[in-house]
Structures are given as C-alpha cells and as structure tokens.
C-alpha cells in the first residue's frame, strides 16, 4: 500500500481544519455523552475504563483516528480507481452478512468476529456507494437524465438498500434515499424531489385527517388534492412561464371551493363532488392548453395530477396493507393520532421527557436522571441526544444541532469548490447522509419523525458507526486536499 502514499499534499496546509475541528468537537462531546448516559450510580467506572462504554468508545475513536490519518496519507486517486472494487467488496460483505449474521434484537446486520468485536457492515457500505456513484458520474460527458444512466444509478443505490432491508435494518436502508439530494444537485429535475416530498406530505396529511369524512372524500384527501392543484399551478408557472394559466387555475380552485362552502351553509354538499369538479376542470384546462401550445409539458402535469390522485386515494390502503402493524403504530404515534406512552410511544415519550426536563441550561454533566436511570431506551446509541438535551439543556442541544448544520453547509461549500464531478458528487453524498441522519435521528428523539433506528453521527455509541462516518468524512477531506494541485 505504501506505493500509494503521496507526500505532495501536505496535510497541515491543505486539509480543511473547520471540518477537522467540528469532527473532533463532536466526537469529544459524544464521548462525554456516552459516559453520562451509561453512567451507573455508585459504580467506579471512569471515562477511561475499558469495561465501560465510554472507555470502549475512546478505543473506537483511537482506531478511527488512525484510519483517518491513513486516509489523509493515501493517494487521492485510489478512491477513484478502486471505487467499484470497494463497492463490490461491500456488496459482497452485505450479502455475506445476511447469511452469517446472528440475530441480535431481530436484526441480522452484525458480523460477529469475536465476542467483543462485532461489525455492522451497513455502516461502511455508505461510503462505498458514494464512491461508486461519484466514479460513475465522473465519466467524461456524463449526462444524468438518460434512461441508461438513471437506471444504473438507481441500481447502484437500490442494490445495497435491498440487502440492508434483508438484514432487517430498515433505518439504515432508508439512509440511501438521501442520495436523491445529490442527484438533484447533479441535475435530477426538481419535479422528482417535489413528487417525493408530495408523496410524504400526502401520506402524512392523508393519514392524519383520514377520520374526518366530508362526503366521498376525507379531509386528508381533500387537503392533499388542494395542495396538488396548487402545485400543478406552480408547475405551469415554472415550466411554461404561463402566469395567466397559473392564475386561472388558482382562481378556479378558490371559486369552486368557495361556492361549495357557501352552498354547504344551506344544504349538505358532498365535498367529494366539488373536488371532482375541480379536478375534471383542471385536467380539461391543461389538455386544452397542451393542444393550444402544442406542448407535452402540460400533459406531464396532467399525468402528475392523475398519479397524485391515485396515490392519495391509495394511502389508506398502502398504510394498512403494506406496512407491518408495529410500523403502522409507530407512524400513528408520531403523527399524534395514537397515544401509547407505554407501548410504541414509550421510547419517544420518555426521550421527550428527558429532553424536556433539561430546560434552558440542563441538569449538568452526570446529573441527568432520565437517561441515567434507563428510562430512555437505546440511550447511548440511537437516543444519545437525550443525554445532551437533559444534561446540557436547550443551549447544549442547539449548539450540537447548529454544529451539524455548519458541518453540512461546509460540506456543500467544499463540494462546490471541487474541480471535478467526482469530488463534488462524493461531497454531496456525504452532506446528504449527514443531513438525513441529523433529521431522522434528532427528529425521532424529539418526536417529530417516526422511530427509525439510525445513529447520530459521532455521538452514538458504536465502533462501526464511528469508523463508518470517519471514513466517509475523511475520504472527502482527502479528496478536497487535492484542490490546490496545479
């Protein structure tokens, strides 16, 4: 391997110290939090005691630091060169994991090497996929929006996702959806992102308000369709710069809804009929415009609307048929539709109590009661942020969250200054993964998103997680170091 070590890129001069400092700060804060959350009253375990979790995390950090240093010393080209090999290796490892992993708490993601060393292969696959995507999109004259390329990219992403799903690690698998953000930067139409967001929004709204029946439609469906019509107006405005058409669509919608509302004051009006009238009117109008301007774009919008309606009306069905009962429960609890503080909502309820009890400044290091007394499950892994919230309060929590924001924005900034697509794509992948972990993990802990078990980077206890994120981040730092080369 020594052949690949280059001396040109001097680390001290060219590495991005902002990210290094953020990284060190977070690992340190995480280390303290792990000690605090696994702290036992009356036990003499110190932060350095290897029998304790904090001590072990320190060892993991030591190992990660060595790996990070090696990465910074490697030739930057090897990532490009070996990207597919690395990808293939980790895909192989993921497949292997499914077969050799022991069942730990219903998950088959741990490769047991010795009693004390277990490896979670999914944590490492992320950087491998990111490298493969970067390599693939770095090809000369690469065009994203071709069927072939899109299919290949989708394949690269979906293959590890499927394997991780098979390991029953739904959370880790969902992380790969974050790559859409990178694809958006590389030219994926905003429509895809909007559709994705709409899918989530309609799903949430549809479920949340599914119990209010308004005559042929539920309130949730009505709201979803109204949003969809507004979006189609925006699309018309955005793609065809047709201000009048957009205006007519919105005015028409308001007119129909207003009329229905006034009518409903006197006679019972099924809102389903009103919304059906609105949809038919919209589609007719768009088709007329398509004919008039001879543009397929209007037809696409019509397809979007029809697809949306199909989606909205199937939300309930999908929810009850496609999801497992415990998943349904988690979603309902996080939507506030089910109160279940001892069951599915227990984790979230307890973690909210822990965080809420922290107040402005927190209870102080090692003075948290909720996390220490094990009210919060997974308190040093997925729910580690509870310890921060309880012991460091609002101020500490905001500092951590802002720290992640700075990291992500810095990653975007660094990505944009890369000279080639490889660096930029990889950088956006890293930023997207961190953003996804931040959103889902903290969102879950404070009760905004459903409980999806993924770690908080650098904070959650675990060697695989820390090493995986370290590698992910430092490969990008290594790539970034080359920018000064002539």
């Amino acid at each position: 391997m020594s052949a690949y070590i280059r001396e040109d890129d001097h680390i001290r001069a060219s590495v991005d110290w902002v990210i290094i400092l953020l990284y060190l700060g977070m690992v340190l804060a995480g280390w303290f939090s792990i000690y605090a959350s696994s702290y036992q009253f009356d036990s003499g375990v110190t932060m350095f005691d290897l029998s304790g979790r904090a001590g072990k995390q320190l060892v993991f950090f030591g190992f990660s630091a060595v790996v990070a240093f090696i990465i910074l010393k490697l030739d930057s080209n090897i990532f490009d060169v070996f990207a597919y090999f690395i990808y293939a290796f980790f895909i192989g490892l993921l497949i292997l994991t499914i077969f050799i992993a022991k069942d730990i708490k219903g998950s088959r993601s741990w490769i047991v090497i010795t009693d004390s060393i277990n490896i979670q292969s999914a944590e490492f696959a992320k950087f491998a996929v990111a490298l493969a995507l970067a390599r693939f999109m770095n090809r000369y004259n690469f065009k994203l929006m071709t069927f072939k390329n899109l299919s290949a990219i989708a394949g690269l992403i979906i293959l590890p996702m499927l394997l991780i799903f098979l390991q029953k690690e739904t959370g880790s698998a969902l992380v790969y959806t974050a790559f859409v953000l990178m694809l958006y930067r590389e030219g994926l139409p905003g429509m895809v992102l909007v559709s994705g967001l709409c899918a989530i929004a309609f799903f949430v709204i549809g479920l949340r308000f599914s119990d209010v029946e308004l005559g042929f439609v539920s309130l949730g469906e009505l709201l979803s369709i109204i949003i969809m019509i507004l979006i189609s107006a925006c699309l018309v405005f955005n793609y065809k710069k047709d201000r009048h058409a957009a205006k007519y669509i919105i005015l028409g919608l308001i007119g129909i809804l207003g009329l229905t509302y006034i009518l409903s004051l006197f006679i019972p009006v099924p809102w389903g009929i009103a919304i059906a009238v609105a949809i038919v009117a919209l589609i007719t109008y768009l088709l007329v415009l398509a004919r008039k301007h001879w543009s397929m774009r209007y037809v696409y919008i019509v397809l979007f609307v029809i697809g949306g309606i199909a989606y909205v009306s199937s939300v309930d069905y999908v929810f009850t048929k496609a999801l497992q009962p415990h998943q349904q429960k988690r979603i309902l609890v996080s939507l506030g539709m089910k109160d279940d503080p001892s069951g599915a909502g227990y984790n979230v309820n307890q973690s909210k109590i822990a965080i809420g009890s922290g107040g402005l400044l927190g209870k102080g290091f090692l003075h948290g009661t909720q996390t220490k007394l094990k009210y919060v499950p997974e308190q040093d892994t997925d729910f580690i942020f509870c310890t921060v919230g309880e012991e460091r309060g609002f101020v500490g929590s905001v500092i951590v969250v802002l720290g992640f924001l700075v990291l992500i924005l810095r990653l975007i900034y660094l990505s944009e200054r890369q000279k080639n697509t490889f660096g930029r794509v990889y950088g956006y992948c890293v930023a997207a993964i961190f953003l996804f972990h931040l959103t889902i993990n903290i969102g879950m802990v404070i009760g905004l998103t459903p409980v999806i078990g993924i770690p908080l980077p650098f904070f959650s206890y675990g060697g695989s997680s820390l090493l995986g994120f370290t590698i992910l981040l430092f490969i990008f730092l290594r790539i970034d170091m080359t920018r000064k080369r002539r």
């Binding site: 009253f41 930067r185 609002f394 990505s415 930023a431």
Partner: protein, 646 residues
Amino acid sequence: MASTNKFNFEKRKYVIGGAATIIVLILVTQLFALQILSSDYKDSADGNAFYNKTLYPARGTIFDRKDRLLVYNRPTYDIVYIPREVQPFDTLDFCNILGITREELDKRFADVKNKTLNPGYSTYTMQTLMTQLELHEYGLFQEKSYKFPGFYIQNRALRQYNYLNGAQVLGYVAEVNKNMIKNDDYYVRGDYAGRSGVESSYENLLRGEKGVEILLRDAHGRIQGHYENGKHDVAPVSGRNLKLSIDIDLQAYGEYLMQGKRGSIVMIEPATGEIVCMVTAPTYDPSILLGRDFGKNYLTLANDPDKPLLNRAIQGVYPPGSTFKTTQGLIFLQEGIIQPSTMYSCARGYPPGGGRPKCHGHGSPLPLEPAIATSCNSYFCYGLNAMLSNRKKYKNILEAFDRWKDDLVKMGFGYKLDVDLPSEMRGFIPNSAYYSKNFKTENWYPQNVISIAIGQGEVLATPLQVANLAATIANRGYYYKPHVVKEVQDTVLDAKYTTPNYTGVEEKHYVNIVEGMAKAVTGGTCRGTNLLPEIEVCGKTGTAQNSHGKDHSIFMGFAPKNEPKVAIFVVVENGEWGATFGVPIGRLMFQKYLKGEIRPGDKPIEDRIAHAIVHAKSATAWGAGKAKANNETKPATPTENRNSTN
C-alpha cells in the same frame, strides 16, 4: 445549453443548503417547545426518576400514671404497588400467599382505583393494596416478590397492648377514611390514625412526622441510590409518648367489679383534675381491634346491643338522681334562699302527704345537712319552690330558673367538660325557654318542674360530670377540668387542664355540703362506705329513676374528708338502689386506690359485687373475663403483660 444547465444546477446548492437550514430550524423550534415552553416534561421526569419513599415514624407509646407501659408498637408489613409498574402476574399464587380470595383481590384493586375512596390515586405513585401482613406472610411474599414486579413491602407498626383494660380510654388505631384524607394533607390512603380514645384526641402528637427518602429509580423500578447522597431526605420524627393519669391497676379492678353489669366508674384526683380511672362496662379487649380482623371485630362490637364501644363515662347520660341534691343545696345557700339552719318538714313526699316526689322515713322537720345525709326529697323540692317563687330576688320564674341553670353550668353541667377524649356528651340542663316552649306558656309553676331538684326529670349528666361535681365539693368550690393524660413527652399540658374553675359558690357553703355527705356515710344513706377509722369518706347515694326498666344504682363521693385524694362516681345501670351496687363499689374502689388493698373483711363484698350479674349478656361480653384473669394475679406488676404470659 449544457453550460447554462450547469450554472443552473450550481444554484441548487442554495436549495440544498436552505433545506438543511430549514430542517435545523424546525428541530430547534421543537427543542424550544420541549425545553423552554413546557414544564410538563420536568414534572414527568421527576415522577419518573424520583421515588419518594415514605418513612413512617414510630407512634408514641402510652404509659399509665405509674409508668407502666400500656401500649407500644410491633412491626407489621404492608403490600404497596405502583400501578404503572405492575405487569400481569399469577393472581392465584398472589392470593394464596396473602390468604385472600380472587374476589377480595379484585375488590382491593378496584377500591384503590376508586377516586372517591382514594383521592390521591395516581399510576405513578405507591398505592396501598393490603395492610398489616404478619411476619410469616411477609416472609412468603418477600421470597416470591420477583414474580410480582411493581409490588413492594412497606414496613409499618401495629399497636400492641400490655393490658387488656381501659379499651375505650386508649381507643383504637385504624386505617384513615376518605374524609380524614381530604381534611388533613398528612394522610394518604393506607395510613393509620387514632380513631377513638386518646389515640384519637392526641393523634397529632402520637403520630409524629413522616420522613421521606428521595431515591432514584430506574425504568424497571430498581432503586439506584439516594438522590444527591440523601441530602434532601427527611428523617421521620417519632411520635410523643403519653403518660396517662389512669392507674391501670385501679382501672382493671374497676372493670373486674363491673363485669356482668352496665355502667361506669369515674375517679378523679380533685387537686389536679386527673382521672385515675374511667371504667365503662361492658368493655372489650383492645387487641381485637388490630390487624386484619379489625373489620370483622369492629362490626361485632358495633352491633352489640350492650354497646361495648361506648365510653359510658363520657357518652352515657343518666339522671344524676339524689347526688344532684348537693348542687341544689349549694345553689340555695349561695342564692340566699336558705340558711344551713333552714328547716323544711317532710311528710313522705312533696307536696306533703305522699305527694310526688315521694320521700322515705326520716326525722322531720330537718335542716340542710341531715337532709343531704338522709337524702330527703322534700327538702330540696321546698328549696327549689322557694327559689323559683322568690319575687323579691327574681323578676319572674324565668329569671329565677335561668339563674338556677347558670349556677349549674358553672359547676360543670349542661356543657362538655372538655375532657381530652373524643365524643364527649354534654348532658342536659334545661333553661327557662325550654320549659316555656314545652308548656307553650311563660307562666308555668315550680311544681311543673319540681323533680329536677332531686336530679330526675329532664336533668341529665354524664358520669364524668357527676364525678367532677364530687371533685368540686372535695375542693370546696373549684375544679380542674378532668383529663386522662397526665404528661405528654416534650410538651406542656394544655393550660385549660391546669387552671382552676370556680363555681361561684362560696367555700363556706361547700363545707355544709361536705358535712352532710360525711353524715351520710357515718349515719345516713351511705353507711356502706364507712371506712373509718382508716379513711374518712364523704358520700351521696342516688337512685336514678329509669322509665325503661329498673332504676340505676348511683354513688358519688370523695375521700378523705380533709385533703381529699380522690373523688368518685359510680353508676350501675338497672342496679336499683344506690346502696346495692354504687355504695359497695365506691367502698372497694376507695380502698383499692387509697390503700392499695382491700380489707380482708371486705373480701365477701368484693366477691359478691364482682360476681353479681345485672346484664347476663355483659358477663360474656368482650374483655370481662379477660379483665378478671388479669386481675387475679394482683397486685399487678409490669411483668403481668401479654408477652410474658404468652
């Protein structure tokens, strides 16, 4: 085209960066809502993590006037649980260990959850399921407690009695009811409090102060240690010990004499107002109102027609009968209606010639002292008539009568004497308005009410009030409010028990009454209490007419005549003549208290009285037999307690 696209795409960095910023803002907003805006989470956290373990103080113990331990504590165990932590468990096993049925268990759970019965119910806090487990049950449960998560054992103390006497004076301790919980923040469901006797009236001193241990508890309810090393813990404060003025030997002896009868003996030390014995018959064994048989035994006692739970000394009201004549003499003298030398003639009744009230054979006419000694009815009827008819002194009969009533009230009649026991009755002394209302006119005549002059008619008094009258006469004009507690540990007795109350009648008039009572013993109705030469007794018998059956036998007295040591009142329901029971019981009680033993020659009297059965049922009633058993080994010593005999 491609270059413009590239340029456009680069702009998307703002969209992505903006999205990240918005997401973080949403997270910060939610953190703000959780940590700054809402205080609910702080409370929940405390409820979660802090387990406030109540430390129960030792209840104060109770001694008699000679420092013999009467009541103390014995450890017992309660089963408590935290509803939220309870997981499905083997109810059959649970019931078997505790010796209850499934239905009882379900009812107990339902009662705990019932907000009216248990206003403090919360799924987060300790709830009491069962109280007073015995040691072996505790052991069994402890052994299997791993099977019953959420259930805990709490150490408590149960009362234990060294003597089986004085049950109504001591009172009992029982679980607090919902009213007590509502009215006093100190109590929570499952707490114990005194419910009668001194246990109730001195509850606030006996109970002490609960302490609290603030423990940290993990999600499984396991105790992880003291919060901040116990800095905030509060140690319980033990209850104060009580020293009663009761002499338990005397009390036991009185109960022995009263077995098979209904009635009461009250003895007061005139110089202090201390009650040295307060016998009520029938009585019961105080130790049966303990533990888990409380409910059953309490019901039996409460339903007993002889009312053993009733403390007749303060809750029984009787016509005071002839003992009341002493008060009349005092009032007439003080009001100037008669002089000690004033003579009235008696011709076997008032009005003369066998009128009612009737009188019995004695010399006539006669002055006050012999009238007391022979218990002449007519004398006092003449006196009362003279007082109520006196228009020089009183404007009308109403004013005269109210004067009469006020004088009696000053002697301690008609109102509660404020004894330090709960549920005291006030007796009854009518006022003029009462009669005006009854007769529907204000123009009524002395003859209409004349029987009150001899303690009959409307007049009613508790044995304590008459005993207090005896003490007042012994003191020649004042009394201390009678009380059963002599000392409270680290506390000064209430001033009302150490301040003399003057009756407003001059001492010289009392001297006449004392002389009359002394004559009654030496040559009048009370010869049966003549204990000369050892003790110079003053006494007054009585026979309280009873429209429901045989008359009540009554005796009131004090001894010795000079520097009296003790005053007494005895009532034996349906015992007929004062001389039948009242007098001999008085004789024996005086000896017992003043000499500590009974004259050998009086043994037959003792046997006769103790074995006389007036109410057959009372003979087999609670405690009567046991009281005797306790008494046969007299003189009682501290070793004569249940522990040593068991």
